[in-house]
Amino acid sequence: MGKLRDKLFEDVRFEEGLKACMNCGVCTAICPAAEFYDYDPRRIVSIVQTADDETIIDLLKSETIWYCGQCLSCRTRCPRNNTPAYVIMALRKLSQEMGYFTESEKGRQQLALKRTVGDNVLKYGYCIYPAELTPSKHPEQGPVWEWVHKNSQAVYDRLGANLDKLGEGALRQIDNETLKELDAIFEITGNNDFFETIENYSEKQAEKMGLGFDDSHDCEYMKHITTVNEKKHQR
């Protein structure tokens, strides 16, 4: 139908996720995002199955594709074997590759995700690492986490973890050879380029918005994208 639609079909998740929709709404009925956001997975699938490139570009620029929480509850129930959550993943990927993600408030947050979870994988070998979960950025974690964070070595030692030390165990330090292997995997599978794409488009957007941009977690643009909730995201 269109070039973008063909491109989406190159993604196996799109092929697996989009069969044919009869608009019955079982997905939206139990979707955690549909209740708290202006989000309707039924409509996404229904739009995508007949969309021309213009409509797809609108979606790639939209807020709505960023509302899904990836719980995949939709997949279990669909009577036609669609998986709206996979369709969303393919759309989000394309939105980032083509730079449309910086046009929406929720899409711009991808930089923050790249710089936290994404960078953690290469830096520590883990998606989540205790020292990065600072109580100031995670007040909702409460006083017990604050206590763990402040006394991490003592707490983790007490519980038999192996924090920041080589060898087996929870939170062990991942050795350099392994981190090099991870980096090589990222390089060969194009994820390092993908990270760069996210950085580059974000930098351009920061300039457009007149916000300070550097590679720290605390630059103006990072603060803006992680805390701002301006648009009407609920129905």
Partner: protein
């Protein structure tokens, strides 16, 4: 025990509306027929139904009229016995039953109808788990037997249960559930005038004479509510009522509805076939119903010469469609026997 012949011109498997109507038609043309019915009585599913759409005729009345004609004409029939195998012998067939009968037939008419979908397969609907989840078949029984029950305040009827559902193994539309739901909503509303009755549908397929009119009557005169959305999950509240989660697809919003009764409009699935010997080549459609040799020119002939089909064995049909189909099948059989 009554005497049976060892050989018939046509053996009809199934003594429901289709099988009996075909038998009567064949009888009129002098064909010697035998009906074999697995249940204790002739009449098929109609014995379990209360009233028939769209005119609310008693199902019992229709059955007893046809059965008394079968009896008047002394048409041979066996009940409480099931055909277990069909073997071909030259250009005839040997039909064996579970009680040990064995008959030779010049032709066989498949008229064993359909099975209803087993709703425990739709685990998220809670059938078998929550006592207030019922099937449309059980509702017919409740209506028919006027049994004493706690009066529900709100009833939800779910269309397309086990139909149009790849996960349930059925891609096809069962065709009759839409109008059955409308019929049952009216009956439930009449039985429980203070109850609110809601149909949850995806499409309303009111395809036949009087169906759309019945739908309008349900809306205007009985105040039945129609919500477009498929049930995603049913769970039980602490007070035993049920919460239905659907999307109200027309407003686009998720919706929770609490009901006292949930009625599942169970779909129609192909009936089990007897064992067929290897030389018999009987083709089935992708939905597992018997496939006619040619749906335009020879709709009652199967892919195997001498084996015919009528009624819901080849797909969901209304009563009058089954009856018409049975008469047509009889004519095809007569034609076949004449050429033989």
């Amino acid at each position: 025990m009554r005497a049976y012949d060892t050989k018939y011109q046509t053996i009809i498997i199934g003594g429901g509306i289709a099988g009996m109507t075909a038998a009567l038609q064949l009888y009129k043309f002098g064909i010697r027929v035998l009906i074999i019915e697995k249940e204790d009585n002739l009449g098929g599913h109609l014995n379990k139904w209360y009233k028939l759409f769209p005119g609310f005729v008693n199902a019992d009345e229709v059955v007893s009229n046809i059965v008394s004609e079968i009896n008047d004409k002394r048409i041979h029939n066996i009940t409480s016995d099931e055909v277990i195998s069909i073997d071909s012998i030259y250009d005839n067939y040997i039909v064996k039953t579970s009680s040990g009968h064995s008959f030779e037939a010049e032709s066989v008419l498949l008229a064993q109808g359909f099975n209803t979908f087993d709703p425990t397969k739709k685990e998220e609907y809670g059938y078998g788990l929550y006592s207030n989840v019922k099937t449309s078949v059980e509702v017919e029984k409740i209506l028919k037997e006027h049994s004493n029950i706690t009066i529900p305040k709100r009833i939800g009827l779910i269309h397309c249960v086990g139909s149009r559902d790849e996960k349930a193994g059925n891609l096809h539309c069962s065709k009759l559930c839409c109008v059955s739901a409308v019929k049952q909503s009216i009956e439930l509303k009449e039985r429980f005038p203070d109850a609110e009755v809601i149909c949850f549908y995806i499409d309303l397929r009111m395809f036949d004479n009087g169906f759309e009119e019945l739908y309008m009557e349900a809306q205007v005169e009985h105040g039945i509510k129609f919500i477009r959305g498929r049930l995603s999950e049913c769970s039980e509240n602490i007070d035993g009522s049920l919460v239905l989660k659907v999307q109200d697809t027309l407003t686009g919003l998720p919706m929770n509805v609490s009901v006292d009764w949930l009625v599942l409009m169970v779909g129609k699935e192909a009936a089990k076939l007897p064992n067929l010997d290897k030389s018999i080549d009987l083709k089935l459609a992708p939905n597992r119903f018997v496939a006619p040799e040619n749906i335009f020119y020879n709709p009652n002939q199967t892919s195997q010469p001498g084996i015919f089909c009528c009624g819901t064995v080849s797909g969901p049909k209304t009563i009058h469609e089954s009856a018409a189909d049975a008469k047509a099948a009889a004519m095809s059989i007569i034609d076949y026997l004449n050429r033989k």
